[in-house]
């Protein structure tokens, strides 16, 4: 009697443990196949994104979490080609398609075909507007506001700010800038005295900042969009002006410059951007949807923040010319899903 009870208890425990491993109430996804549809691979961010997918998805396949997780990139960055690619994936019988889209709207027809065929579609970074797909979006406005919030903690007296914007006409640029301006409206001790377009590239940013600097009064802080902080620092140095507090964007050259400045004169700042490993988050979200988890259609990806304390660790882990990265695990995906519910 006692022994049988014990056995029963042990069996029960084992069952619970087994279920927990498979994701508690969720179904097994070991037979499911996931595909990544990517429209462009021509810069360091996209390369890091594909690399992250290969690592995380490859490990998941090896562990038997899913049966396959193949990555496809179109040979040309065109929406029509990606639409055809998605339709091919439906034909190949994938259970889920993870998309970094060439266009937020032009793939909707193909995405709808996939949904109608019972395929789970998860879009990230470049998201699609078709309602049947999941979207893992970045709250760029919050990112811009966070920069000003940080400046307010460091410079309570406020002062003049220089804003470096991204590529004109791209919605990301508008969003980040809107967030920065919202932050300035809240912390009214700050005033944006100048705004230039740095196109997310160090050389462009350097030229633009060098051009506007002579006309500016003293600048205490520079708010940026990533990929432009190092160029701004060089422009300030060339003009012989004191280096203001520049918010950085996780690029390796920016972090290297930051570390050098810190060692030389105790420079302190904040760096934030989107980690290319967001592809692995999308992978796990797709896996969770396949497993039957209730996932809200709109999720927000947290951005990767590097502070004075984590600088050395992140810099060491970032190859020259690349972007600081973070790999998301199943637990991170579950946390993001729980946060959106």
């Amino acid at each position: 009697m006692k022994i049988s009870k014990l056995l029963l208890g042990a069996a029960g425990l084992a069952l619970v443990a087994g279920l927990a491993q498979a994701g508690s109430h969720l179904q097994d996804t070991s037979g499911k196949r996931i595909a990544l549809s990517n429209n462009y691979a021509g810069n360091s961010w996209r390369q890091a994104m594909l690399q992250s997918w290969e690592e995380a998805a490859g490990a998941a396949v090896a562990d038997g979490v899913v049966a396959a997780a193949d990555a496809f990139t179109t040979s040309e960055n065109q929406a029509t080609e990606q639409a055809a690619q998605i339709q091919n994936m439906i034909l190949q019988g994938y259970d889920a398609i993870v998309i970094n889209a060439a266009s937020p709207t032009a793939l909707n027809g193909a995405v709808k075909e996939a949904c109608d065929a019972g395929v789970t579609v998860v879009s990230f970074d470049g998201i699609v507007s078709e309602p049947c797909a999941w979207r893992i979006a970045v709250d760029f406005a919050a990112m811009g506001k966070e920069e000003v919030d940080y400046l307010a903690t460091r410079l309570p007296d406020g002062g003049n700010l220089l804003e470096i914007r991204g590529l004109a006409g791209v919605f990301v640029d508008d969003e980040i800038s809107a967030g920065i301006h919202a932050g300035v409206a809240e912390h009214d001790q700050f005033k944006i005295v100048g705004s230039v377009h740095g196109d997310w590239a160090q050389d462009v940013a350097q030229k633009a900042v060098a051009g506007i600097l002579p006309s500016l009064p003293d600048v205490v802080g520079v708010v940026t969009q990533g990929g432009d902080g190092y160029g701004a620092a060089q422009a300030f140095k060339a003009a012989g002006r004191p280096t203001p507090l520049i918010v950085l964007g996780n690029r390796q050259d920016e972090m290297q410059w930051w570390a050098d400045q810190r060692d030389a004169n105790g420079y302190e700042t904040l760096s934030l951007s989107i980690a290319p490993g967001v592809s692995t988050l999308a992978f796990w979200v797709a896996q969770q949807v396949l497993a039957g988890e209730e996932v809200p259609k709109d999720l927000t990806v947290p951005f990767l923040k590097i502070t004075q304390d984590t600088l050395d660790e992140k810099l060491a882990g970032t190859p020259v010319g690349s972007v600081a990265n973070v790999m998301y695990a199943l637990e991170d995906a579950q946390a993001v899903i729980a946060g959106a519910k």
Binding site: Q85, T105, F171
Partner: protein
Amino acid sequence: MTRLSRYRILLPVLSLAILLAATFWMQPRAMSYFGLNLLFNLAVPIALATIAQMMIIMVNDIDLSLGAFVSLVACVTATFLHDTPLLGLAILAALILTYAALGAMIHALDLPAIVVTLGMSFIWGGIALFILPSPGGASPGWLRSLMTIKPPMIPMAIVAAITIAALTHLLIMRSGIGTVLRGVGGNARSVARAGWPVIRLKALAYGLAGLFGVLAGMALVGLTTSADANIALRYTLLSIAGVILGGGEFIGGKVSPVGAVIGALTLTLAASFLSFLRLSPDWQIGAQGAILILVLTARLIFSRRGAEA
């Protein structure tokens, strides 16, 4: 001559059949109503664009603005045709007339079409960006239902391809005006001597190209449900390749509408086939080119043999 023209259509059919067999072998799932539709529905706008390009190549010219033009039509369709259908139709009609006027101008001023159309591609692209600065718009409901219609037995994509091929074959190969149009490409001077107003014929050919370009843009929006200003830029080269793959020749007058449609289907299928092969994207464009060269080489060999015999 009959022998040659028979070869001309035989080769595109053969290439499509071989490619289709290989695709079915690799991906048996494609061998179904649903699968065929998925494989070929995006080929419908390409087929229409290829026919448009064929009209231009038929009169001994070449159109480098077609991709930008189709993109512009897509933008107009997703905005004006959706919101204010009458205005949308008027704009599309105006675009077709502009194409016809371009044809007349190219002939009257004896301009090289390649230069004029290259210039026009920037104008079309500019207007498209002006209409739709960021991706968006919506497909008119009737267009969406037309492109996603599910006819019994044969999928929409196949029905559409056959209809396009049959109609243009009747127009270009069988009708009187079609014969004269091909004559303009073959020998414009003798057509003029026979009393035909070549300028009007050229305008007609360009107008027809504009019409099919408009149809291509509309079909594309019906499939994608929205547009952006760069949506069809690839169509310029795809359409030229489709015409040539389908048995057309740059030396005017030698075209085949049925072949052009088959050429468009073959090109679309080739891209899918390569992606089923899991070929790295770096190699895919090269492989697509290799398929093209293979078919053209085969054609050259066939036609040489035909000439010898």
